[in-house]
Subunit: 746 residues, 2 copies
């Protein structure tokens, strides 16, 4: 399929006025000029037509883990990569991947109802009718279960929602909870529900969150239709991702498996996702009070909290099979430093056809690989080894990336320089999150990429948009700070094992924000028809992604000295330190205020005889914690970073080879083999997905979560641990600085 | 109808532990003791059974202006008041009051639809079927009109909504706008629409604002059902309320009338209110972009801004008749100071049966009058004259109160001490707004009233609830300030002519906030069935209102020295001064920021080729204004108030008679005969309903609105005017202080 003529012309006339002219950081002036030349050549190569064709081919049939087309795609990817001269292979692993044996959801009582649990084909959408190959709507790693109980509505099902229920005097003990998708990662919902004594969990897609409230439903618009449901994993991944039967080790032939009944990351209660059409009779059956305003969705009736008089019957059972995983891995061997690896990845498996998730990222990645193959033919040779990965099994539990990285853990710890990840991609603004030692690097690359719509650099565009949307205070910082801040990595894609388990500096990147999307997410409608009607329809942002990620890979692979920068990291650590102190102060102030209000009789004043209202319990006021080690370490890191960055700049790309080895270790020293409290797999002490947020990051997680969970002794211990890691980083930088030529003056 | 036994018992055991024991402000110790005794006797008298019976009788049939039952109610009120020995009479006026001759609203085009414009009877609700006596759903003082045009959705139809439309490149010129009720007074919607070139205006009740989104719809719950519509006036009352043909003078026999075609307060375009069931096809016909999130209601489809391809046809015509107004006025002549009048009022007319609005306030007021009659029989004689008013014609345009007060303007300016107003009343927290010279008085009375539900004082209850709901900063102030702040008066009830036109110190009071109400507002369902099922069902808050307002009236009428206090007023003026400066600074900062963003290219960065986006125009940065006179006057007032309040306290209720005459003038000197810019009827320089908010108050309106409307020269002039008024107040207080005995020490 060809790109329409008008769009072709548009792309053809796009001038590359935005390319880098300054000497690149970590390069000698000569090497910088050479690199800039190759990068410019590279960025001319990605072709929206190819990206479109990649997506069309890969999304032509459902391709979840274990499906025929999943394997077919892997083999096709392999053949493509090989055809461009890359050294590619498929690495095969296996993992536990449950699929539905039976699913049933009924409302009992006077007006019984049985949920359809079907996404109907849509006539204009050719692949939506491939029902025989589609995985049914379900949540992977729900336990088997058959429960009958009254319903309670729990909003998004986060811990704070249960505090609201407590105030209303509503318990979910023995109940089936009905939660709406959104605001937290879905796996948190059954986890927290089970902790509160619920026996089952239904998760539905409220039209407020990704349906008609946001925009016209599919196929008139991009949003979720009445019968659309969101598949997805509910494994307790904040404990560990990857194959549940082989935590911490690669699931290769002959590995020892934990028995399924001893796996801790499978849900404690049965879970099922449903559409809003299926949810409606269950929500209408709820009695009790009207829910608080923040809990109300967009269905055309009053939302009540429950419990319901009529009971619901939820019964699910699964085939608990191990399925093969096909990771496609292509290497370009480095000329100078073959043992220093720059890794790039995006998954290829999907819940159904997966045009948006993940092919809008994987299709550009494949085009990047083609373009690099082209450069190789033109004579370019990277200094470092480049590894392009197309992961399988991301959707169930980051299976393919985790098993690969666990298998190669020792090599990766020694050789991995950085990991660049993408996943679904859309139209709009550049976004990146990742290691703060790469914040400056990410900014520098973004200044060399042209935005397809505005023709300004993607860096300038996002900076201006951020300025427009910022609070007054934040706006001042954006204007005065030379680098745009990048958020830290939580979880939700394949960078997790690299950053959190192995301590490999990582970046996740993509484009988006212009379209109100998400209504197709993890449904049978996330397909080529949907994507080419409602997202990056001309693939110009697919091209921008290929240009951006490819430039990052090349610039990291070819640098004389790895362009890590630590001033931004130190600044970020200071920010976290301040945030943690503020968090504790707020908790203390809140506790004091609450206890004061209880003793002043505020809850008697709020008493309404027509409503059940339970005052909060009196709680001890949080103690002061010893932040001195963290303050000290932040300052020490700032000093060391400043000295290093200055010496680095002065060196003009000239440095001994050992320096790169130090820099490769700079992210590793921020990890600790013992891992985080109660989840040893997560070893990074600055970043982790939240134990109760799932995707959302918790920075300085040991300390932050200890404060949030009121574990004061643990909080003090964790401050010591993270401070030690930061001192290690400062020491590493001091050593590294010594390797650089002394500064001219001072 | 009798109160249920349980509720009776509850009320019977309510101990009056909360009654005042401190000496009352403005009373000698002896007089204070006597007054406290009478007030305690008074508060025992109001009987929920009587209030219920008053409401039942008065709401038995529709009783809008000009209806048979409106007159019947007035005559019944008169008879009641007379039967208790009060000197009562009906004062009759007349006013222009248009009623519908014809109403038509159609959607043309491929799927035509004709709006029903009917509120169906509901079987369980006995008065909802009195359709032959009900006023149809309409907006009074809409002009006649017959227009056919495309539709545009304008959210709440406020000026800021049109700024959003400007950014989206949407014009309403030549269109019929469809606005939702809420967020501003309804009369603002057609006014602003006409200013922007619209040719018609439909106002509908979105279920998000008072329908199923808030709670179960009637008759399952209190909220507006699918076919419920909100009647109401759309006269341009921020210019002047009352009879449109007799601005500033009483509409008595023989008064000269402005011809209807010269009346400026009738809308410029035809207007019609509709239900959400009627609105649905019109909203669904809208094309164009999805509206911004803040614009979305709760109907189950995507809201688009328009314009519509299909046109709408709106045709309304009215009988432009003058109708009689029956104000019922009862007097209790003062023993000592018969020429000092304490006035109490609540309207008796309604849009339909009006149980909530206004009878939940009028029924307690009538019970107050009965109780005062009872006290008279027991030997109590007020020092000042008390006037109880039951106004007619509030709903169309505050007709009855305005014409009465305009007729008696000269006497009122001389004799009126204070005006105490109520209107609809509900269950929950005490609320009062009014003149800040009465802020302390209101607080003191509220400390003597027991809350029926919690048994704490209503003052303590609202204070604790405010603390719970306040921001951290506001909470500190509530805890440290001895008086709770009362908001200033905007408009929307009968106090308007007293405070804004005549400068009579006024308070509006009532209870509410516990029930999510409003769904019956101005509909055929605001009736006895609705009220006795969903609001203050045992009339315990009706009793609390009677106790509160009656205590205010007695305490003001019997005081040796009028208990005005000026420290709170001065503090409030300082607050306003600060707010105005902050407003100007924000406007300046916003303008600078916007202009900066325009020149930085932010709007190029925001450019989305799939959306129409119009950057805001560059605007001159607002100049600095001379706040020195206002700062000086605030300080002078603070000084004078402090001296006065101290001398007042030291006097222990002993003062010469002239002092009261000064105090009566203390609100009058805050007015100016020339009125506000472009609306001379509004003479108060501290308080006015906003020209573009309608109900919502604008404090220091001359200055604030000049800043908002970017009239910088006018703003400077208005600062001078209001400063002069505040200096007059300071001078008055200095003179008044001289009349008080010198303090013992210092």
């Amino acid at each position: 399929m060809r790109l329409p003529v008008a769009a072709c012309c548009l792309l053809a006339v796009a001038a590359y006025a935005v390319d880098a002219v300054h000497p690149l950081r970590g390069y000698t002036p000569d090497d910088s000029a050479t690199e800039i030349g190759w990068e410019q050549k590279f960025r001319q190569l990605p072709d929206p037509d190819h990206i479109r064709e990649n997506m069309r081919r890969l999304s032509a049939r459902p391709h979840h883990v274990g499906s025929p087309y999943d394997k077919d795609n892997a083999e096709w990817l392999l053949a493509q990569l090989k055809s461009w001269g890359l050294d590619a292979q498929i690495e095969t692993f296996s993992a536990l991947f449950p699929t539905p044996k039976s699913r049933k959801l009924e409302l009992l009582g006077p007006t019984p109802f049985t949920a359809k649990l079907q996404e109907p084909p849509i006539s204009v959408d050719p692949t939506s009718g491939q029902t025989s190959e589609q995985l049914p709507t379900y949540n992977a790693y729900s336990r088997d279960g058959d429960v009958t109980a009254p319903l309670v509505y729990v909003n998004y099902g986060r811990p704070e929602d249960y505090e609201v229920l407590d105030r209303m005097g509503i318990s979910v003990k023995g109940a089936i909870v009905i939660a709406r998708y959104g605001a937290s990662w879905r796996g948190i919902k059954p986890k927290v529900a089970a902790e509160h004594g619920a026996v089952g969990c239904i998760i539905y897609s409220d039209p407020r969150d990704d349906g008609f409230y946001r925009g016209d439903p599919y196929p008139q618009g991009p949003m979720r239709p009445a019968d659309g449901a969101q598949r997805g994993s509910v494994m307790d991944m904040p404990v560990y991702p990857g194959d549940p039967q082989t935590p911490g080790v690669g699931a290769v032939e002959g590995v020892k498996l934990i028995p399924i009944d001893q796996v801790q990351t499978i849900t404690k209660i049965p879970v099922l996702p449903i559409s809003w059409a299926d949810a409606t009779p269950f929500l209408k059956a709820l009695g009790g009070e009207t829910v608080p305003e923040a809990w109300r969705g967009s269905l055309p009736f009053t939302y009540h909290v429950g419990p319901s008089t009529a009971k619901a019957h939820l019964a699910v059972s699964f085939n608990w099979d191990r399925k093969p995983l096909y990771d496609v891995v292509a290497k370009i061997k480095g000329k100078k430093y073959p043992d220093q690896w720059v890794i790039r990845g995006n998954h290829h498996d999907a819940w159904v056809n997966g045009a948006g998730d993940p092919l809008s990222g994987a299709s550009p990645e494949l085009e990047e690989a083609r373009a690099l193959g082209e450069l190789l033919k033109q004579g370019w040779e990277p200094d470092r080894t480049i590894i392009y990965c197309f992961w399988d099994g991301e959707e169930p539990a980051l299976l393919g990336s985790t098993e690969w990285a666990e298998t190669h853990a020792d090599e990766l710890k020694q050789h991995a320089v950085a990991y660049f990840n993408s996943d679904g991609n859309g139209r709009g603004y550049f976004r990146a999150e990742g290691s703060h030692s790469l914040e400056n690097f990410v900014n520098e690359v973004a200044k060399d990429i042209q935005d397809p719509e505005t023709k300004m650099t993607v860096w300038k565009r996002v900076r201006l948009v951020d300025i427009n949307r910022a609070t007054n205070q934040a706006r001042g910082e954006i204007r005065s700070r030379s680098d745009l801040r990048i958020p830290a990595l939580g979880s939700g894609s394949d960078y997790t094992v690299f950053i959190d388990h192995l301590g490999v500096a990582s970046v996740n990147l993509g484009y988006g924000g212009e379209d109100e999307g998400g209504g197709q997410y993890h449904s049978a409608y996330d397909d080529f028809y949907w994507y080419t009607h409602f997202s990056d329809t001309d693939f110009s942002y697919g091209r921008a992604l290929a240009q951006t990620a490819g430039t990052m890979v090349m610039r990291m692979a070819d640098a004389d000295v790895l362009p890590f920068q630590f001033g931004d990291l130190a600044d970020t650590v200071h920010l976290y330190d301040t945030q943690l102190k503020t968090l504790l102060t707020e908790k203390r102030d809140d506790a004091k205020e609450r206890d004061q209000e209880i003793s002043d009789g505020v809850y008697q004043a709020l008493y309404d005889p027509r409503k059940q209202m339970v005052p909060p319990p009196v709680e001890p006021v949080p103690p002061y914690l010893n932040f001195a080690p963290l303050d000290q370490a932040s300052d020490d890191l700032t000093e060391a970073a400043k000295a290093f960055d200055q010496a680095f700049a002065a060196a003009n790309g000239n440095a001994p080879l050992e320096l790169n080895l130090d820099l490769i270790r700079s992210e590793r020293v921020l990890t600790d083999d013992r891992g985080l409290p109660s989840r040893p797999w997560f070893e990074h002490l600055l970043y982790a997905p939240g134990f109760y947020t799932g995707y959302g990051v918790k920075t300085v997680p040991g300390v932050r979560e200890a404060i949030e969970q009121k574990k004061w002794t643990e909080a003090d211990e964790q401050i010591t641990r993270v401070s030690a890691a930061l001192e290690r980083e400062a020491d590493l930088l001091k050593d590294a600085t010594k390797l650089l030529p002394a500064k001219k003056s001072e």
